[in-house]
């Protein structure tokens, strides 16, 4: 059973639709109970970082996110809050990855929107990201490239498209919206 963390930060529906298409069982919940009944957790996320962190705090989910032993996948904002500090709203993240999340300033537009190629990063961690293929991105902030970066993408500058450490995987793109190649990541990671 995969638990989708419903902490008021959007795209729960598109994530649950994607899991349904893959035939993966899931539950949507906003209470700490989700960690007891799930063998893996997805932190979805679109919207503002400040609000997301405030919601996690209010719903008492942070402690479990840090101690949970099953696999956790953060998507988009759900990945960014795994960082230490987020420029958007000047907030502290979960600090799983000791990195910063900052505004993308070198691309032609404020928001990096569309399909972009994901290349292999420096981290030797075994991953399920299909390198050299396109995934769908939509974000204005991004995590810097760091030793845990397994996938890199470029929009005016390089940034972390995917990060991985122990049981945590963060993806800046939307595997639930990236066709069959995106779906394969969800499937392989949680299988």
């Amino acid at each position: 059973m995969i638990g989708i963390l419903n902490y008021g930060a959007g795209n729960v529906k598109s994530v649950s639709n994607a899991l349904q298409r893959l035939g993966l069982e899931f539950t949507v919940d906003d209470s700490p109970l989700i960690f007891k009944k799930s063998s893996g957790i997805i932190i979805p996320g679109v919207g503002s970082a400040k609000q997301a962190m405030a919601q996690l705090e209010e719903k008492d989910l942070i402690k479990d996110l840090l101690s949970y032993q099953g696999k956790i996948m953060g998507i988009c904002l759900g990945m960014q809050i795994m960082g230490e500090w987020l420029e958007e709203g000047n907030v502290q993240g979960l600090g799983i990855f000791k990195t910063r999340v900052q505004r993308l300033k070198k691309g032609p537009r404020q928001i990096h929107t569309g399909w972009n190629e994901v290349r292999q990063g420096l981290s030797p961690a075994e991953t399920f990201i299909p390198f050299g293929n396109c995934q769908y991105f939509v974000h204005g902030y991004a995590m810097e490239v760091n030793p845990y970066t397994v996938g890199i993408a470029t929009y005016g500058e390089d940034f972390s498209a995917a990060i991985q450490y122990e049981n945590y995987l963060g993806v800046q793109f939307h595997p639930e919206k990236s066709g069959d190649l995106g779906a394969s990541i969800l499937k392989n990671y949680f299988q």
């Binding site: 639709n17 928001i111 929107t113 190629e117 769908y136 919206k177």
Partner: protein, 252 residues
């Protein structure tokens, strides 16, 4: 490198896909779910559904087909037509749409853009603008093109960006359905004016029109409807043609 997007637009009326010329003379072109799935399989990058009856008659978008699209599509899709309040927007997003296309209601009440942006994020708001020419001035039309306003398109686009729109979908009405090519002049000006992604719409008749669009403007995406629905241009052929001309395109 970020790829240029090819977007298919489905104008939906009473549960059927329709398409006209210069916004009138609508023809029945099939079932939206079947067409959407076909385009997804062919490698379209995004889909836009416009409930074209919703705005003029003030009826609301039928959420049943939005939900079905959400269940079946694994690529991003936008829904527009008749979204006139935060409540409407919430229903459409909760039904599974990734983005909303706001047009008439946003023009009348621009704060709707910021309300939707605050609740769902900038990326969920596409400001759709229908432009028409009068005495060489490019102005905004609303209500599915039926009501002409005196507002210059570029001014409204900039205001929309300031209110929090995440993308602009510009349809040049005088080009729409004519297959005479995109309105490059207007698109160049628009892309200098705003710093959010632009989707070009209206006038695509051949793969060369898309090539000209991407070679001569900075827009991120090209949208077409009729040429895809009538099988005049297939998405795989179009993408191969653009790739062979060195346009960054997602291959499938």
């Amino acid at each position: 490198m970020l790829k240029k997007r090819i977007i298919a637009c489905l104008d939906v009326q009473d549960g059927r896909v329709v398409k006209g010329t210069n916004f009138i003379h609508l023809k029945d072109l099939g079932n939206p779910i079947e067409l959407a799935m076909k385009y997804q399989d062919q490698g379209v990058d995004e889909l836009v559904f416009l409930d074209i009856k919703a705005s003029p008659s003030k009826s609301k978008t039928n959420l049943k087909w939005v939900e079905e699209m959400g269940r079946k599509l694994s690529i991003p899709f936008t829904v527009g037509g008749g979204i006139s309040s935060l409540e409407d927007a919430t229903k459409v997003i909760e039904a599974g749409a990734d983005k909303l296309s706001l047009n008439t209601a946003a023009f009348r009440t621009p704060s709707l853009i910021s309300e939707v942006k605050t609740k769902f994020g900038k990326q969920a708001v596409i400001l759709a603008i229908d432009g028409y020419y009068e005495h060489h001035e490019f102005r905004v039309a609303i209500q599915g093109g039926k009501m002409k306003t005196s507002k210059p398109v570029l001014d409204w686009a900039k205001e929309g960006e300031d209110f929090g729109a995440g993308e602009i979908l510009l349809t040049s009405m005088s080009h729409d359905g004519t297959q005479a090519g995109f309105d490059l002049k207007a698109l160049v000006k628009l892309s200098e004016k705003v710093s959010i992604p632009i989707i070009a719409s209206g006038g695509a008749g051949s793969p060369s029109d898309f090539l000209e669009l991407f070679q001569n403007t900075a827009v991120e995406a090209g949208l077409a409807a009729g040429i895809f629905h009538r099988n005049e241009v297939s998405i795989p052929t179009l993408k191969e043609f653009l790739i062979s001309n060195n346009i960054p395109i997602r291959s499938c």
